[in-house]
């Protein structure tokens, strides 16, 4: 790669801090919320995670793209990130499954990126000042001009993005092996590994658009008396800006449909139970986060991607119209709420639970995969 083979690019944060680097992926201009992800593996899964919609992702790992891009690892049908920031992109793809290079993939999907900048300095800046809006451009060379555009772009707080990422049509992921349960899964930005993890445990997963109604949910598995469980997926946006899905969940809980939620599904569970949500300063994005399961006191290393969290009291039971709610998991780094549990006020039986992190992993460790088994137990009324 001769010097300056790549076009120059600039990155400007909404507080004016500017980084100059080289174009990576598509040329052009892009805006979004700047967030950093600390995972050292799994860039392909990260890029295709719908939760990153409208976010510009800064990779703290310097070398990105080494294993190219394959057809098995994407977590959805497309790349969702609004922009991509890496330090040293790979020049070749080295993996037996690689089909094409990351650079080509970004170009094909018109994702504007920047490389060659001090990603650690940028990460430290975001850590100190918090996630903020950012612009990347290969067209505009004047930071002042780009800054104006950044300040004019949309903010993440108060934004509902579920409709933008959800499936247009409902579809079914069949159970692998013997079918044991039928689940209605609301797609708020679902990752492919989630229904996969359910399917391999004998769950037939009916993935529904984000706009599904209680009737749509109850229509799932109607021949055997409705769904065995309701699932809310991860997804982008501010949970406080979502009302329809919260009401749907409250209605489902009132009808005692067992519930499991991941990430955005945890935040909406929290809201359905009457808790508030708030925006974290710079979020959790990575695959090394220690979470303690408060029931077993065991620690699991987990995959995270969230900028909002539930505001619920730890070590305290909360009475809700649907039962007794408790915080089931906390993050050991910052004590933030990582899971909720709802039990029947009379019987003490589990009615629903959710976690803020990603038991489906992809990318990330499999420590939390037991939560899918817990969902099975819940539906089997064993807990």
């Amino acid at each position: 790669m001769p010097l300056h083979a790549h076009k120059e690019a600039i990155l400007v944060l909404e507080d004016g801090r500017t980084f100059r680097g080289e174009s990576f992926g598509a040329e052009g201009e892009t805006f979004g919320e700047a967030v950093f992800s600390t995972g050292m593996t799994g860039y392909q899964e990260t890029l295709t995670d719908p939760s990153y919609h409208q976010q510009v992702v800064v990779m703290t790992a310097p070398h990105v793209g080494n294993t190219g891009v394959n057809d098995e690892d994407p977590e959805s049908r497309r790349i969702w990130v609004a922009g991509y920031v890496v330090r040293d992109p790979a020049r070749v793809s080295s993996n037996w499954r690689a089909k094409r290079s990351l650079d080509d993939d970004l170009r094909d999907q018109s994702v504007v990126g920047i490389s060659g900048i001090d990603t650690r300095a940028l990460t430290r800046h975001l850590r100190e000042r918090g996630a903020m809006r950012v612009g990347i451009s290969t067209i505009e060379t004047d930071p002042e001009v780009l800054l104006k555009k950044v300040l004019a772009s949309a903010e993440m707080s108060g934004t509902n993005l579920s409709d933008a990422v959800t499936t247009a049509e409902a579809y079914v992921v069949p159970a692998k092996g013997e079918k044991r349960f039928t689940v209605a899964a609301l797609d708020l930005g679902i990752k492919e590994m989630t229904p996969e993890r359910m399917a391999e445990r004998g769950i037939e997963v009916h993935v529904l658009p984000a706009t599904a109604t209680l009737e749509d949910v109850k229509a799932v598995g109607a021949d055997s008396g409705g769904p065995d469980g309701l699932f809310y997926s991860n997804g982008p946006g501010d949970p406080a800006a979502t009302t329809g899905q919260v009401e749907l969940l409250q209605a489902a809980l009132a009808e005692d449909i067992p519930y499991f939620g991941i990430c955005f599904g945890n935040q909406l569970f929290g809201r359905a139970l009457g808790f508030g949500t708030y925006k974290l300063k710079y979020g959790h994005r990575g695959i090394n986060q220690p979470v303690m399961d408060l029931t077993t006191r065991k620690v699991e290393v987990t995959a995270h991607n969230h900028g909002f969290a539930v505001d619920a009291p730890v070590d305290e039971e909360t009475s809700t119209p649907y039962g007794i709610a408790t915080v089931s998991h906390v993050n050991l780094n910052d004590d933030c709420v990582e899971g909720l549990e709802l039990k029947d006020a009379q019987t003490g039986k589990l009615k629903g639970f959710s976690v803020q992190y990603h038991p489906e992993a992809a990318a990330g460790p499999h420590d939390a995969a037991y939560l899918f088994d817990r969902f099975i137990s819940l539906m089997a009324k064993e807990v």
Partner: protein
């Protein structure tokens, strides 16, 4: 789950002497463990025979036993101390094997000692290959197909089944000792036979070949609540077939998708759980087939390993420290991560570090020390040390690591003419992994090879190959650029090119490039190793340089002292120098300075992030050090740089640093030069009325011959400016002198060869002293057990001297003072003397910390290096006496009468090296240093101390059985008395013809043994060599015929000593050693040899503790 309250005292076993495959990384881990346990209020009892370790400093344990790590001695310690628990997972394979032996002998049960960390069952499951395979299979993983063998017949049958090539892996050995590849039956018989012999259970695993696959390691940590985390992934750049200790390795793994990585992770956690390593760290190795991703689990170590040390330094996650905490009951979530300061204090240790940089480790070899040794890299570890570098990308880290090796030939070089690069030959050459292969790969790239061709030859992952192409492209751009512009320079620096490399390509000196670079404002920034990729604020200033935008060096108020470490371990410059650097850091920190450590050796205590106030993990080159000095000067006041404690590496930088305006504390560079330059030093001696052996300097054979003729043979020849006696040899005639000069490649007018009179039959004396400008403190006077001519690093020695009287010590004191004054020493000084025919010759003087500083410090309970650091910063010896750092009166030359005798014995790596034909390399000692480590034997008299030193280094001396004796003619008179003593003690004496004849005439009965050259007798009588190999001999005494004449006698000696090494029995090669051995054997036969801790000795002798307490 908090700390267990039932454990009040813990016995920690160290790893003993430094050997290949088990180096100072275990001092690092053991030191961390001792610190942790003491902080927790637990009584720490330590056993380690290695005096050069920080962990054996008396302030790191409550009872420190510098005693042999054998079940016999450790039992004595247990019986005396009655510890509640034994922690054996931090002392390498030595400690683990000792724990297994203690368990097998019922000692742990007898004294009710609980093995914490890993149980015996877990150790067995992890190391027994059959059981381990079962575990892997149950987890759905795969192992290489293999057959367990206990005999040669098993091996042959196994190879039939698996097909050649096959891998040979002996059970229960360390550093892959005894393992290798066999491509045919002959190799199988040879390597397999050696492997069976090397295994304590006579067990060898024969395995299908997975040569060329990608190799990975994961470091796992687990607590007693079954919380497990992966601390680090490590990828080997050299594919399968090269021992990981000899591979270039990279952290984190860079060529795995998340799916593949998570499979390795799941397996790792499943394995540690199934093996049952309840608490602590372990290391798991994998091979991944690049063609289809098939994963094979190779092995696991149920203990902290060399890779753990690397992983700790690479991530900032202190594995040994955490392993010690979880061993005493803490769970990972209860342990703080020191490095971070999160919103609620620090984050917990129950997470997985994430890196925003790349770490590269490169091995350092010492093949030049073992002529004839096969330099091919195999599964049998051969490297003696390693350097690690950190960069913001792979290219930066790799090039920094290569220059950290301090081998000019290791660094990529584009100035070699392109016509000399023959592509087909290079592609053939790089098929075989050797030291320096990577550079030949670069040459192949320059010669026009394609990435595919390189891959075909080397099986190095294509991503790494591309990175090498990238480096080459940048080099071409540097060469082709019409001007050295800011863009080009910045580009070069971003990918790790040194000023020297750039200068060489541009026809400039490194100084000029640096000048240009500074003028253009291109300087490195310093980033922080923080375990979390900047997600949380780091509290610990553990830095590395990078050519990036933002620096993280914090401003400071206190005056700083920068201490330069010693770089990668090599023969002649090892842990002893790190010891001195660490001591300086501790002492100066106590004295109120901010200490800044610079080093690139991941195995050391000095590169632990909490040893100094700031740590720069950087190469020790002028460029890198100057930039650090600059950065620290920007941050606050810098008093100066200490170059005197890290051995030759920092010493070599002193003058250039000073020339660049850097203040050097302690002995000035001019004084250093004065001591090293023969002419100037000669004048210092003359002025003091001292004599050196006659000598001269030569640049050609003819000059050398003239000098030799004048001063008379034998002469000692060596290159100038050396450490560890590199290239030294004693020659007895013109012919040998000619071959030496011809073989010496680097003889030039500015690098002449020294020709010294060799003082025959002299006693060699080593002195370590401290000088403040007025007062001399004689640290210790060591008398070598072997006569002069054997490198001091390889000689055993005794302190206090066993045969020198007060008058001689006084002469030595006067001479040392004169030299210290004459040279202008401020700090430490090491002088070697030879005392022959009542003349005290000065062999050499080194105005720096020596290899023996830790030994002397421990033997005399005086912290010499700490005192030296404070002298260097201006305190006087008198002040240090008052401050209690040094004894109020007296010194190491005037020790109290009840002072114990300390014997140092060197440990050799001969069993690691073979010639390409599979022969063992010769084991004779000479002026070239060959040892990798040392042990100390400490007792009230010489015989016992010597016996302990032998037990620590080789295994116990025999107290009965068969002794084989074969002496050179010149030694025959001296041997009679000691051999007679042994015969009187009931030993059966075997001898070769000449030796037997002399013994018979002196009334010592002996039996004749056939010489190797005579072959097996007509009735099948075995030769000496066969008997030794068959274990029929308990001790070998063989002094070599040194002259070049008696070829066959020399060959016999060679075969005998080789056999002794292979059979792992003591082999004495000098008359002096024989005398000492006899005293040792007598002490053993008299019965009980006791163990006594350093703390007890201190109380007996009544020395002050002289200590700066452990941090």
């Amino acid at each position: 789950m908090p700390k267990r309250e039932d454990i009040k005292s813990v016995l920690v076993i160290g790893s003993g002497p430094i050997v290949i495959g088990q180096a100072c990384e275990f001092d690092y881990s053991g030191t961390q463990a001792c610190r942790v346990l003491r902080e927790e209020g637990i009584r720490v009892v330590l056993v380690n025979s290695n005096p050069a370790t920080i962990m054996t400093d008396p302030e790191f344990a409550d009872a420190t036993y510098v005693e042999p790590i054998t079940p016999e001695f450790v039992e004595k310690v247990i019986a005396k101390e009655r510890p509640d628990a034994l922690l054996a997972t931090l002392g390498g394979q030595t400690a683990l094997n000792c724990a297994v032996a203690l368990d097998e002998r019922g000692i742990l049960e007898k004294y009710d000692v609980e093995l914490i960390g890993a149980s015996i069952d877990a150790i067995q499951r992890g190391e027994n290959r059959e059981e381990f395979k079962k575990i892997v299979a149950e987890l759905g993983g795969e192992s290489a197909k293999s057959v367990i063998c206990h005999t040669i017949d098993d091996l042959l049958a196994g190879a039939e089944q698996l097909g050649f090539p096959v891998v040979i892996r002996p059970s229960f050995t360390m550093g892959g000792s005894g393992s290798g590849f066999a491509y045919n039956e002959a190799e199988l018989r040879r390597l397999g036979g050696a492997g069976l012999a090397a295994s304590p259970t006579t067990e060898v695993l024969l395995e299908e070949s997975i040569l060329g696959w990608k190799e990975y390691e994961l470091e796992v940590m687990r607590d007693r609540k079954d919380n497990s985390v992966i601390v680090c992934s490590i990828e080997n750049l050299d594919p399968m077939g090269v021992h990981t200790g000899d591979s270039i390795t990279v952290a984190p793994a860079l060529t795995l998708t998340d799916r593949e990585y998570q499979k390795l992770r799941d397996l790792a956690i499943g394995i540690i759980r199934a093996v049952g390593v309840d608490t602590g760290g372990c290391n798991i190795q994998y091979a991944v087939n690049p063609a289809d991703g098939r994963i094979i689990v190779i092995e696991m170590n149920p203990r902290v390993s060399r890779s753990s040390a690397l992983a700790s330094k690479a991530t900032g996650y202190p594995i040994a420290k955490i392993a010690a905490k979880v061993a005493i009951g803490y769970t990972l979530d209860e342990i703080e991560n020191d490095i971070t300061a999160g919103p609620n204090g620090s984050t917990a240790a129950s997470f997985e570090p994430t890196l925003d940089y790349v770490v590269v480790k490169v091995p350092r070899f010492a093949f030049e020390k073992f002529p004839g040794a096969d330099t091919t890299l195999t599964t049998h570890m051969k490297s003696v040390g390693e350097a690690m570098a950190i960069g913001r990308n792979f290219t930066e880290a790799l090039q920094k690591a290569l220059r950290s090796l301090e081998k000019p030939e290791a660094v990529f070089d584009w100035t070699q003419e392109i016509v000399e690069l023959d592509k087909p030959a290079l592609l053939e050459e790089i098929k075989v992994p050797t030291d320096g292969r990577l550079k030949r790969v670069m040459d192949a790239i320059r010669s026009g090879a394609t990435p595919e061709e390189i891959f075909e030859s080397t099986r190095i992952d294509p991503w790494f190959i591309d990175q090498l192409f990238l480096i080459n492209e940048i080099a071409q751009e540097i060469i082709a650029s019409p001007e050295l512009t800011a863009d080009v320079l910045r580009y070069a620096k971003r990918h790790g090119f040194s000023d020297y490399q750039v200068g060489k390509m541009r026809g400039m000196t490194a100084d000029v490039v640096r000048g240009v670079r500074h003028a253009l404002g291109i300087r490195p920034v310093y980033k922080t190793v923080d375990t979390c990729a900047a997600e949380f604020e780091a509290r610990t200033p553990y830095h590395y340089s990078s050519y990036d935008e933002e620096t993280e060096v914090a401003p400071r108020e206190k005056e700083a002292v920068i201490i330069l470490g010693s770089g990668p371990n090599r023969i002649g410059q090892g842990i002893e120098f790190d010891y001195s650097c660490v001591h300086a850091s501790l002492a100066l920190s106590e004295a109120g300075y901010e200490t800044v450590m610079v080093n690139c050796n991941p195995e050391t205590v000095s590169t632990d992030y909490d040893t100094s106030d700031r740590l720069y993990f950087e190469p020790l080159t002028l460029e890198d050090v100057l930039e650090i000095v600059h950065a620290e000067q920007q941050a606050g006041p810098v008093v100066g740089v200490i170059c005197q404690l890290g051995g030759q590496t920092p010493l070599g930088l002193a003058q250039a640093l000073k020339d660049n305006g850097v203040p050097i504390v302690g002995t000035s560079p001019e004084a250093i030069h004065l001591a090293e330059e023969r002419g100037a030093f000669g004048r210092v001696l003359a002025q003091a009325g001292l004599v050196a052996p006659k000598h001269g300097m030569a640049t050609t054979f003819n000059e050398a011959r003239e000098i030799a003729a004048e001063i008379g043979y034998p002469v000692l020849v060596r290159p100038s400016y050396v450490l560890g006696g590199r290239g030294m040899q004693i020659v007895y005639d013109d012919e040998a002198l000619r071959s030496y000069i011809e073989a010496a490649t680097e003889v030039t007018p500015d690098k002449p060869v020294m020709v010294d009179k060799f003082v025959d039959d002299a006693v060699e004396i080593d002195v370590d002293a401290l000088y403040d400008g007025t007062e001399l403190f004689l640290g210790g006077v060591m008398e070598h057990i072997e006569e002069a001519g054997i490198h001091s690093g390889d000689s055993s020695c005794a302190l206090p001297p066993i045969t020198l009287g007060a008058a001689e010590v006084e002469r030595i004191r006067v001479a040392t003072l004169a030299i210290a004054e004459g040279v202008g020493v401020r700090g430490l000084l090491n002088i070697q003397y030879a005392l022959g025919s009542d003349v005290l010759y000065v062999i050499e003087a080194n105005p720096r910390a020596s290899r023996t500083v830790p030994f002397v410090s421990k033997a005399t309970a005086t912290p010499l290096a700490k005192a030296a650091a404070r002298v260097m910063l201006g305190e006087s010896i008198a002040q240090l006496r008052t401050a209690g750092v040094l004894p109020r009166t007296g010194d190491g030359g005037a020790l109290p009468p009840n002072q114990p005798i300390a014997v140092k014995e060197a440990v050799m790596p001969f069993n690691r090296f073979r010639t390409p034909e599979g022969q063992q390399v010769d084991t004779v000692l000479g002026p070239e240093m060959k040892s990798t480590g040392e042990v100390m034997g400490l007792d009230s008299d010489f015989g016992r101390a010597f016996a302990k030193s032998q037990a620590g280094a080789f295994g116990p001396l025999p107290t009965s059985g068969r002794i084989f004796v074969s002496m050179a003619n010149r030694d025959k008179r001296t041997m009679i008395f000691p051999i007679k003593v042994l015969a009187d003690h009931g030993f059966e004496i075997f001898a070769t013809e000449g030796t037997a004849e002399v013994l018979r005439r002196n009334g010592v009965p002996s039996r004749l043994m056939r010489k190797h050259s005579e072959g097996t007798g007509p009735d099948g009588e075995k030769t000496t060599v066969q008997r030794i190999l068959d274990g029929e001999v308990d001790l070998v005494i063989n002094t070599p015929n040194g002259t070049s004449n008696a070829k066959s006698a020399r060959m016999d000696g060679y075969e005998i000593r080789t056999a002794a090494v292979m059979a792992n029995i003591a082999c004495i090669t000098t008359v002096q050693g024989l005398g000492a051995a006899v005293q040792g054997i007598e002490a053993l036969r008299r019965g009980e040899i006791d163990v006594r801790s350093l703390q007890e000795w201190r109380d007996i002798v009544g020395h002050h503790d002289g200590g700066v307490s452990a941090k």
